[in-house]
Amino acid sequence: MIRIEFRGLLKIGVTAAVGMMAALVPGAAEDFGPVPQIETNAAQVELGRRLFFDKRLSGDAAISCASCHDPARGFADGLPLSAAYPGSLGFRNTPTLINTAHRAAWFHDGRLGSNLNDVTREMITEDYMMNMDMRLMQERFKQDPVYVEMFEAAGYGEPSNGGARKAIPEFLKTLISRNSAFDRGELSPSEQSGFTIFAGVAGCGTCHSGPRFTDDRVYNTGVPDNPEIWRNPMRHTTFVAYAMFMGIENFMNIRRDPGAHVRGHAADGSDVGTFLTPTLRELTHTGPYMHNGVFATLEEVIDFYDAGGGDDPNKDRRLMPLGLSKQQRTDLVAFLRALSGDPLTGPEFVWQDPIPTEYDVIDDWRETPN
């Protein structure tokens, strides 16, 4: 079911991308502008926030969403490759969740193109993520009087997995970039020059367009492989499980992340190694970079683009050696940094009260309806 969705999405994506190529490359600050805030329901956000920080949403109650999406790290984790559910390790870099509510497709391979409710379900139920049977999760919620009240207040009735899958996206909608130097219109001369290069000669804005600096499309930029995935069986097993589930051919013998090939399935393999354009906001909080975290610093990323991207026969034609001067590279990095706003670490983003790891007994159990 999910895979059919991807195929549909890609077709639209591909035709639109071809049409766009000739179109105007955005150049003025207004073309990027601040990221619009989203209206939310306070009680639903509050519930979503608690759920986001609650480890009882994972099968063995060991990790929460925030274990990997840490507010202090821009809702990413600071690791090249993510952790995973205990017993496994991840094979991709944890993306920031800031501005994710504006995305049109999710995950580095863009394999979900529907909505955050589905993304949330995938995170909770995927065996190498939180490995949770949602029927059990729901009964855990019902055992916590705080949730019983909060689901009610949020208008979801009694605690349910359906309610949780609505409340978490509602919380994610509040994670919007704010108050970056770029949005305030307070760029230093170096940052300003970086912006000019970004939107001009370097052509970054062709893909990193719009307020979030992403067109939500997939490209092959030739990002080099991260050999740690194949060196470490705890990561390689996770990749194999993913590849098996996604129906990737010959999955035991490949040593490369196929990226959005899982949604495009191009017969000639030309979409192997394409990944979704990430947002460029909040980069100061979210390194290392790229789908596999191969670049530790923004300087490395700029050197990569200056060299015309990586080595790949299917690399996007737009990437060519740029021949930037040292100063231009410095300015470009300075500009990218100026796209980071206030850290979202205040109480409106971080659940403050301790979340119990144990549950209260229902005292008059025999007399209380289940």
Partner: protein
Amino acid sequence: MLKGHKETLISAVALVVALPLFAAPAGADNNPPLAPLGDPPIPADNPQTPEKIELGRMLFFDPRLGGDASTACSSCHNQEQGWGFSDDLSRGYPGTVHWRNSQTVINSAYYGKLFWVGAASSLERQAPSAAKGAVAGNGENDVMEARLAFIPEYREAFRSVFGDEWPKIGNAWRAIASFERTLVQTDTPLDRYLRGEEEALSEQQLRGKALFEGKANCIECHNGPMATDERYYNIGVPPAPRWEEDALAQITFRYEQYAKGVTEELYRFIKDDAGLYYRTKQKEDMGKFRTPSLRYTLYTAPYMHNGALWDLTEVVEFYNNGGGENEFGHNLSPLIRPLGLNDDEIEDLVAFLEAFSGPEIRMTVPELPAYQPLPDPAE
């Protein structure tokens, strides 16, 4: 793979087709006698080989066949606890408790249907449901199968036993089933007695045997070589006290009702384990459980589907009192009624129950091979 989940609270249609499971007509004469236990049946499509059994033994002890690589079959079927788990409710997957007592796997090879309500039709099918259930192994096929591929010794064993290029998870269950078919005990004092070794049972045990087959009428249900008719009865085992005292047990209790797809009405008000009902969705099957074997029970306390009875004397006293009470009293087996045994008779019967067990079955825990990176085929 994504974990199963349901959008709606209650599935309207019972997944299991109702099978009428008739109780045997009363009358001790029809009962097959206790008999010595022979070799277990071996399915034609999964023959025993020493290599397969050894692979199954390793897998049985390997926690990587489970969600977070912490919980092996042997975690709940612990050889030091009678190949079961010595608590009323079994331990669960981390963060959970199970809702039933863990059964011994000794002699499970002889049962037609596995689990307290016979929910699995073979050991090959039982193993995956244990490894995958949210309060047992909580594993998923793809991750578990992927893990096996990174253990060179397993790769080699699956190749030579099953011809797998890469270990197939279905074959892991077959190997485990083969191993379980070696966990049998056929030389208990009772077996030896029934094979003609008269001194294998004490005087007291012989008096107990007569009660078992006569006044106490245990033979009505606990008969044949396995001391079970493999039918289903409500003998009045009371609900688990932990459902009233233990929050994790309350969570699992509701989860089980929900996961088994009972009606909304039942989900709200049920406060006990409805047993066979979950399979058949027939009211008259509420509270019924499979008659368990009495073999190896010397080591498997506590007893009954929820571990309500803590030793064999309590069990005999329970029967002597005409069983107990639960929510499903309307289904109480008419075969369960006060027995009028005196204290000596109770002791004799308990002594006889001990004759269903030989020495403890113990083995060294296999050393488990480690993950290794997979060589790149391109190099």
